[in-house]
């Protein structure tokens, strides 16, 4: 599984990196810091017809798209 570490990056970098990763990978794990970035990635997953699960890791969120 491809991992995208977008923690601490400003918008829209987390989404751009996730989109890039989705081009060549079926499953992508994305790490983001901010709640609104988590929502954005989840929405992107929905738009792309991907299932996604999110976990609050304390300092950051882990979203798995696949």
């Amino acid at each position: 599984m491809k991992e995208v570490d977008a923690r601490g990056l400003s918008c829209p970098e987390p989404l751009m990196l996730t989109l890039d990763a989705l081009k060549n990978n079926q499953e992508v794990k994305v790490l983001v810091s901010e709640p609104h970035q988590k929502t954005n990635v989840e929405k992107l997953a929905k738009d792309k017809g991907k299932k996604c699960t999110s976990r609050d890791m304390g300092d950051y969120f882990e979203i798995t798209l696949g």
């Binding site: 601490g8 400003s10 829209p12 970098e13 751009m16 810091s33 709640p35 929502t39 929405k43 300092d59």
Partner: protein, 364 residues
């Protein structure tokens, strides 16, 4: 609840439009409502950071926006104290956004408010703003990044909200701050209404992620229309209000609007704002909101805007608006200053340097 559908965002934008409407009706300057650039500038003036007598007043709207975002972020668990993503570059981008805004005479929010009142200059400026956002998107596609922010001590994100709360308390309990006796700074809604409007818009903007630069950016970058729907809601409400109350006047040199018709500089001023806002990750309004929810990086950008506004008025960079001479009744056209033109070009050059020297691949 996150305002995460287009319909909800449209409603959030419409409610912000209603807040702008109420402020205009209760005394805020024409088509300014709660312009972020103008009101940070007024606050800087009130505190004596610049001496432009017509634009000095502590604007409770700005304070309310920061505190509203802070409180709702705390209440919903979205408060995150962070910092360390190229703070001085962000400071510079704050200064740059303010210079561009005061050459055009308004932040992107005021551009939309002016558009809703028929000011054709604002439509011309929109071309520049969109081009600036496009240039920023081009940089993003080439890997532009200001690097990662990191979790900071929880108290770090509280500093700006506490400072603005202190300013608010001092402004109503002491006579420390300057208040304009004439000009735009003398026009204001009652303090309580302004503060409440700021708080409400702060909460709505935090929940809806309202961002004027982000709205266009997401269209250009990802064909995503989520963020623009907030702006659309705000625009439509104000357009209807302006038409219904006879405040809609289509034209270029409309006195009282506080605008000028130097097309090139309206375009270049907003080009600067659009470009810098994409590089900074959000427009002036969004920076206030992010600062409220704990981002020290955005707080530094806000400080940059604050200092930038003082620079604009101390060094004669800010433009003047078209007005009617009270004695002669003559129409005096607003104008951009020579210093302002030079500063604008320097700011654009600085944006290009920032855009193409900060790459993700170069980050260690």
């Amino acid at each position: 609840m996150v305002l995460d559908t287009k319909a909800k965002r449209l409603v959030a934008g419409a409610l912000c439009g209603v807040a702008a409407m109420v402020l205009a009706l209760l005394g805020n300057p024409a088509n300014m409502a709660f312009c972020i650039a103008c009101f940070i500038r007024d606050t800087a003036g009130a505190m004596g950071f610049h001496q432009a007598a017509a634009v000095q007043y502590v604007r409770p709207e700005i304070i309310g926006l920061i505190l509203g975002a802070f409180l709702i972020a705390l209440a919903t668990g979205e408060y995150r104290s962070s910092g360390g993503s190229s703070p001085m570059i962000r400071f510079a981008l704050g200064v740059i956004m303010m210079i561009g805004a005061l050459i055009f005479l308004g932040c992107p929010l005021r551009m939309v408010i002016r558009m809703s009142a028929g000011d054709l200059n604002a439509y011309i400026a929109l071309i520049g703003f969109a081009a600036g956002v496009c240039t920023g998107v081009f940089a993003l596609r080439r890997g532009f990044s200001l690097g990662r922010s990191h979790p900071a001590n929880r108290a770090s994100g509280v500093v700006l909200p506490v400072i603005v709360l202190g300013i608010m308390i001092l402004s109503v309990t002491t006579s420390l701050f300057i208040s304009s006796e004439s000009g735009p700074g003398s026009k204001h809604a009652p303090v309580a209404v302004a503060l409440i409007a700021g708080l409400v818009v702060g909460i709505l903007a935090q929940k809806s992620r309202m961002c004027f630069a982000g709205g266009l950016r997401d269209i250009f970058l990802m064909k995503n229309f989520d963020l623009i729907s907030v702006i659309a809601g705000l625009f439509v409400v104000l357009l209807v209000f302006n038409i219904a109350t006879g405040r809609f006047t289509a034209g270029f040199n409309t006195p009282g609007v506080i605008a000028h018709s130097e097309h090139l500089w309206n375009i270049l001023g907003m080009y600067t704002v659009g470009f810098a806002a994409v590089l900074a990750g959000g427009c002036p309004l969004r920076q206030l909101i992010l600062a409220g929810q704990g981002s020290s990086d955005s707080a530094v950008t806000v400080l940059g805007m604050f200092v930038g506004s003082a620079i604009c008025h101390n060094f004669g960079l800010a433009s003047s608006g078209t007005a009617v001479n009270a004695e002669t009744g003559e129409l005096v056209k607003g104008a951009v200053t020579s210093n302002g033109r030079i500063a604008c070009l320097i700011c654009i050059a600085a944006c290009f340097i920032i855009a193409f020297t900060n790459r993700r691949s170069l980050e260690k």
